[in-house]
C-alpha cells in the first residue's frame, strides 16, 4: 500500500541521515538542517506506531 511506502521511505531516509553523520560528511550548517529533518521523520514514524490513523489525520490537519 502506498501509505506503507511513505513510512518505510521515511525510515530509510532517517537511516541515511545517520549514515551521513557517521561518515562525518556534514558541515555545521548541513548538520542543523539534517537534524531538523531527522526530528520530523522520527516524530512521523513514532506517531505512526502509536496512534491510530484517525488521530494521525487530525494531527496532520492541525499542522497545515
Amino acid at each position: 500500500m502506498n501509505q506503507e511506502m511513505k513510512y518505510e521511505a521515511a525510515l530509510a531516509e532517517l537511516q541515511g541521515i545517520v549514515h551521513k553523520m557517521e561518515s562525518n560528511e556534514l558541515d555545521i550548517d548541513q548538520l542543523t538542517e539534517q537534524l531538523k529533518r531527522a526530528q520530523q521523520l522520527i516524530t512521523l514514524c513514532k506517531d505512526k506506531l502509536t496512534k491510530t490513523d484517525e488521530e494521525i489525520k487530525k494531527i496532520l490537519a492541525e499542522t497545515k
Binding site: M1, L11, Q15, E22, L31, L49
Partner: protein, 411 residues
C-alpha cells in the same frame, strides 16, 4: 438359509480395506458405508454396509481420533476388522470390531505428500514467503471463529501491548473445524480480497491493487487438538499460497504442520504467538528509530560541543600567542642591546690594533732607520737616484748620511 451359508463360509474376522463413502453416528453406534473404487475411473465397483455397535465404538472411536487427530469421516480410507452378519430384517452387514488408525494415518500422509507435490509443481508452494511483511504492519485482517477464545486473546494482546503500538483488527469469520474449514476460509479470503476496490485509500490519484490490510492472520483457538484435517486440502493451500498479502497461520497444534502452515508466510503455534509476532515486528522498527534518534542527538551534541571547545581554545590561545610574540621581540631587542657595546668595543680594539701595526710597519719603512744602519741616499738635483748611468762627470750629487750630508762631484 442365506444366514447359515454366510455363517458357514465367513466364520472369522477379517481385515478389510475400504473407502468410507458414509459415516454416521446414531444412538451411540456408528453406521458406515464402505466402497471399493475402480482404480482408474473412480467409480465404485463394490459397496457394503458396516456397523460398529456402541460398546465397541466407545473404545474404537477415541483411539482412532487420538492417533489420526481427526474423527472418522466420509472419504477416508480405512482398515477394519470385521465379521459378517446377515440379518433377515436388515440384510447383510459387516460388523466392525476394530479399526487400524495407522492405515488411515498412512493414507492421510500419502495424500498430504501428493498435495505438497502438486503445489510445488504448480510453482505456488513458496509464493507466500516471497512476500515481505511490511515494517509498519498494523492493519490486520483476521480469519477466525468469532466466539473462539483464541480470537479474543489475540485481540486483547494487541490492544494491551506494552509499547503502546496501535493496531486495527478486522474479523472475517469462518468455521475452523470440521468439514466447513476449506469452504469458509476460502470465502473469507475472497471477502478480504474484495475490499481492494472499495478501499477508502484507493482513489484516482493513488490507485491500489491490494486490500487495505498489511497482513492476514488465520487463527483458531484455545488449545484443544482435534480435527486439523480440514486444513490439509489442496484448494485451501492454493488459495493461501497465492494470496497477495502475507498470511500468518496460528492453527494451534503440536503435531506435524498442516499443509496450510507449510504454504503460509509465517507459522506460529498459537493465537497469542501470532499477536506476539506482530508486536515484535513493530518493536524492531521502534527500536531502530530510537537508536537512530539517540545516535543523532549524541552526535550533534558532541559535534557542537567540539566546535565550541575549539572556539574557546582559539579564544584563549590568541592573547597567549600574542603575548609570547611581544615578549620574544622584547627579549631579542634586549639581547641585541646587550651585545652592542661589546661589539663596538671589540671593533674599536681591532681597529686600534690595526693602526698600531700599520704604524709599526710604517716605522719600518722610515728612511732614517736605513741611514742609522749605515746606508746612504744619493740625491741628484734633489731627487734620489739609483742608476749611476744617468750621471755624467761634473754632475753634483748630494749624499745623505745618518749624521749629515756630503756634496760631491762626479769624476
Amino acid at each position: 438359509m442365506v444366514r447359515d451359508a454366510i455363517e458357514m463360509h465367513l466364520p472369522d474376522e477379517y481385515w478389510v480395506e475400504a473407502e468410507l463413502s458414509e459415516c454416521r453416528e446414531h444412538s451411540g453406534h456408528c453406521y458406515m458405508e464402505l466402497i471399493e473404487k475402480d482404480e482408474h475411473s473412480n467409480t465404485p465397483v463394490a459397496r457394503a454396509a458396516a456397523k460398529c455397535w456402541r460398546q465397541t465404538w466407545i473404545m474404537v472411536k477415541p483411539n482412532f481420533e487420538r492417533t489420526t487427530g481427526t474423527p472418522l469421516r466420509a472419504g477416508m480410507k480405512v482398515l477394519l476388522r470385521v465379521y459378517a452378519q446377515y440379518h433377515e430384517a436388515y440384510g447383510f452387514s459387516w460388523i466392525v470390531s476394530d479399526i487400524d488408525p495407522t492405515y488411515t494415518l498412512g493414507d492421510m500422509a500419502r495424500r498430504r505428500q501428493e498435495i505438497i507435490r502438486q503445489l510445488k509443481e504448480e510453482g505456488v508452494f513458496d509464493m507466500q514467503r516471497e512476500l515481505k511483511l511490511p515494517l509498519f504492519a498494523q492493519r490486520i485482517a483476521v480469519i477466525s471463529a468469532p466466539n473462539a477464545a483464541g480470537y479474543g486473546d489475540f485481540c486483547r494482546q494487541l490492544e494491551d501491548n506494552a509499547y503502546g503500538f496501535r493496531f486495527s483488527i478486522t474479523l472475517f469469520p469462518a468455521i475452523m473445524q470440521g468439514e466447513q474449514v476449506e469452504a469458509t476460509i476460502i470465502a473469507a479470503l475472497n471477502s478480504i480480497f474484495a475490499t481492494t476496490a472499495t478501499s477508502p485509500v484507493a482513489s484516482a490519484s493513488i490507485p491500489s491493487d491490494l486490500p487495505p490490510f498489511d497482513a492476514v492472520v488465520i487463527i483458531r483457538g484455545g488449545g484443544a487438538t482435534a480435527d486439523l484435517s480440514g486444513f490439509d486440502t489442496l484448494a485451501l493451500a492454493e488459495n493461501v499460497a497465492q494470496f497477495p498479502l502475507p498470511i500468518i497461520t496460528g492453527i494451534g497444534h503440536d503435531r506435524d504442520e498442516s499443509i496450510i502452515d507449510m504454504v503460509s508466510h509465517t507459522r506460529v503455534k498459537t493465537p497469542t504467538a501470532a499477536a506476539a509476532f506482530l508486536i515484535d515486528n513493530l518493536r524492531r522498527v521502534s527500536e531502530s528509530i530510537e537508536q537512530a534518534e539517540t545516535f543523532i542527538l549524541n552526535y550533534v551534541n558532541e559535534h557542537i560541543r567540539f566546535q565550541q571547545q575549539h572556539i574557546t581554545n582559539l579564544t584563549t590561545l590568541i592573547p597567549t600567542l600574542a603575548q609570547r610574540l611581544l615578549s620574544d621581540s622584547h627579549h631579542r631587542i634586549e639581547l641585541l642591546q646587550g651585545r652592542l657595546p661589546i661589539a663596538i668595543e671589540r671593533r674599536l680594539t681591532a681597529q686600534q690594533h690595526l693602526l698600531e701595526q700599520t704604524a709599526l710597519k710604517l716605522q719600518g719603512f722610515d728612511p732614517k732607520l736605513l741611514l742609522s744602519r749605515g746606508y746612504s741616499i744619493t740625491l741628484f738635483q734633489g731627487k734620489a737616484i739609483r742608476n749611476p748611468q744617468l750621471l755624467k762627470p761634473g754632475d753634483e750629487i748630494e749624499t745623505l748620511m745618518e749624521k749629515g750630508t756630503v756634496t760631491s762631484i762626479v769624476r
